[in-house]
Amino acid sequence: MFYSPAPLHIPDGFLSLLVSLVCWVVTALTLGAAISRTNKSLGERQIPLMGVMAAFIFAAQMINFPVAGGTSGHLLGGALAAIVLGPWAGMLVMTAVIAVQALLFQDGGLLVMGANILNMGLVTAAIGYGLFRSVSGSSKTVKLGVAGVAAWLSVMAGALLTSLQLWLSGTSQLGIVIPAMLGVHALIGLGEALITVSALAFILQTRPDLLGEGSESAKAGKGWILAGGLISLFVVFLSPFASADPDGLERVAENLGFIGAGQSAPFEIIPDYTLPFLGETALSTIVAGAIGIAVVAVISLLVGRGMKARS
């Protein structure tokens, strides 16, 4: 009655174990970076602030505006949280929101929570903050415009990632899920953009000091601008390609060995990847899967290091 589920929360059972675990690894590493950065840069004062801000995002998602025919638009909040609180704090706040939605309301699963946090909390924050930060010296109009674009893109990025995860798990067909998800979220994203822009405009007008520009050095934003820009480019280029030519994307995935990742029984987690010395046994594929996860973990760790060094 108080709470309207957003269509991006994946429940348990819809993603394969491998996809869920890989998403958890990426999410956990990013959150680890966020926690160590936040512990260093903020005092204990910030923790109650972030808690109340998480409750704010949760409550703000209930503010809706009627669109037409009984449907209404409302906020998801990832981009807004990152813009007003900074990227790392924004990520932690969104993580708390998604965790409570899953734990308390079963809106989104537990095993797939890593994927949900990645789609709705981490990527949205990177895009929101990165793009907004890239115009930090500009006029108010430019800033608000860019914030709107970032909010729209963050929703699209979440929808695109969700579709890709569902497809890699063998739950949906690429040619249908991408156009359907992106089509719906292009509209939802418009609502998100409008609310984000007017909320920011309101804050800029009444308490401009809260969106303090001088609080972080210019150098600190560089890594975020890069990250946000890259993810945005990824969304902008992959979405049309995937919608127009799903077979093409499937071919690419097939060549990379992704496809069918979760379509068969779990003991064939990566069907083509068996370890020669173990033969084609269940153990062999489990070990292969574990190695795959470890490789992904190391790559994300290195990327995280790089980003940390830059920022």
Partner: protein
Amino acid sequence: MHFDAFDRYHDKESFLHRLDPRVKVLVTVIFIVSNALLPDGAWFAFGFAWLFLLLCNLLSKLGYAYSLKRSIIALPFALIAITVLFSIPGKPLSSFHFLGITFTITDAGLLRFVSILIRSWLSVQMAILLVAVTRFPDLIHALEHLRVPAILTTIIAFLYRYLFVLTDEVFRLLRARESRSGAVTGSKRRLERVERSGRGVLWRAKIAGNMAGQLFLRSYERSDRIYNAMLARGYAGRLYTLNPHEMKSVDYYATAFAIAVIFLMQWIGRF
């Protein structure tokens, strides 16, 4: 609003209620992982998992169908999996025409679709049961014991604490909007009235945004006040609980039993 309007906890004296929250969180997670590991069409194992769920329901004294009644929540998402009905090659079962395209349901597609739904349905029920038999602060405490970073559990604890307060604030804002935005009086349907209130869609979106900004400012200022009040009461960066949460022997037995059952389930699913 009453403080527990969001709460999913049901107070009862039962075996599951008394169990250590760590055990409950751990078993829930293992159960969900086990569901994800079961192969498509492992009907006996799915049935066995459901029996385990039934046992948990009975042990919770909430009634054998408690989690069943609340499990519809994941159903809308099933729509997203519907394409596997047609996309996996197999023996055609039936076909129909829609928008000039012929859709053919295959046996392999149906098998996969039903398996996805059952997995999701079993998993969501265990999660529902978990919050029904565990107080949320205990749940957070369990997460802390299970090595979830303290900063995250503290944020979650604050979120839970102030959720009710800020929701009240939102309702105040929404009520104010409804009573002030020029609604057409006398129209029969409330929705219609709300839709006509004020100006066009863009204007309504802008107002919603202003309200979000307003809520942000109020929350921000409130967080300041909260922090000062906490400092005054001796807050030093840590939240404490009165529940000792000690693992008793019954907790260990329950964990061992649940894990044995889940292993048996996996064995049934494979052989």
